[in-house]
Symmetry: C3
Subunit: 138 residues, 3 copies
Amino acid sequence: MVHSGRFTLSTQGNDHMLDITGMVEQVILDCGVVNGVATVFVVGSTAAITTIEYEPGLEQDMKAVLERLAPRDASYAHEARWHDDNGHSHIRASLLGPSLTVPIVGGRMTLGAWQQIVLIDFDTRPRTRTVHVQVIGE
Amino acid sequence: MVHSGRFTLSTQGNDHMLDITGMVEQVILDCGVVNGVATVFVVGSTAAITTIEYEPGLEQDMKAVLERLAPRDASYAHEARWHDDNGHSHIRASLLGPSLTVPIVGGRMTLGAWQQIVLIDFDTRPRTRTVHVQVIGE
Amino acid sequence: MVHSGRFTLSTQGNDHMLDITGMVEQVILDCGVVNGVATVFVVGSTAAITTIEYEPGLEQDMKAVLERLAPRDASYAHEARWHDDNGHSHIRASLLGPSLTVPIVGGRMTLGAWQQIVLIDFDTRPRTRTVHVQVIGE
């Protein structure tokens, strides 16, 4: 009834957006759940999970909007305190959130045709990320 | 144990906010789950689900804040690439997210008195939207 | 299979950020679920749940970014209509969202070492908040 999947992937950081829909689908296929939900969760405090129409234009647009919202070169108390450079990464990740839950109906997620599940890595350097996919259903 | 509900609704697009709390409650009532969770998910990449105190003032305020964050008339790589006009719609929808999971305790969702579940349609034209409500519990 | 936990906590309002990871962990320990998910949900329309590296610098940075996004002293239709002062609180809360779902694997949530679950209270006065933790699993 509960099935735990997991995968890792390499990112370039710096708002790199990766389509992970196929990897999530594979976990669902492997456990054979026909009706239920899949919770997709990225470990760490500088990456996020959401859905978007995955294409290079929107990756660039998301980066531009978030750069206005939480600029890379603004002054962050986090950076003053810990002598690092990723205050904006933390804020962007917390605003979008690390978790997404998607219904599974008839063996498939209820995504739209132009709606992909993406991981966005806001850290300032390449990272290896772990994503948990928890499938609950029957 | 898993119950799948679904409804469709017509929106005007352009940040139209619709209170869907009653429709989600009806799905929960119909399946008789007393303790569990309901996952509410909108299909498509230009609409979002969240909670808010549903009243016309906040619908207007949300539109104003998002217009500053991702202006309708800004330049979007998505629009240059695909010759459409909804780059801001995609970005706004991805920031809020398509999914919300709410506990069900004693047959009722644990919402506050002034906390409604809303769908916001960010697309630039009227749309028909499908919302899935996946109820898991006993 | 479904376990309902709940706790209350006092906040100072005004973007006060509280680490609730330990309280959520206690609910999971008490019900003995080893594999599943925990849904953490705050009741009310002026508070939110997300994850962040919990430290005073980022609490201050989050407040600064949200103050630019939805300033406390901007003009809000909500305030004009209801003669209150928390239009920005509602908008901030709706953007972050009231709900977070985290996988439980081997009896523990799949959080990173520097990834805490936080409640942020955006209201303009001290509040007592109720958080529901719905655990589903085996």
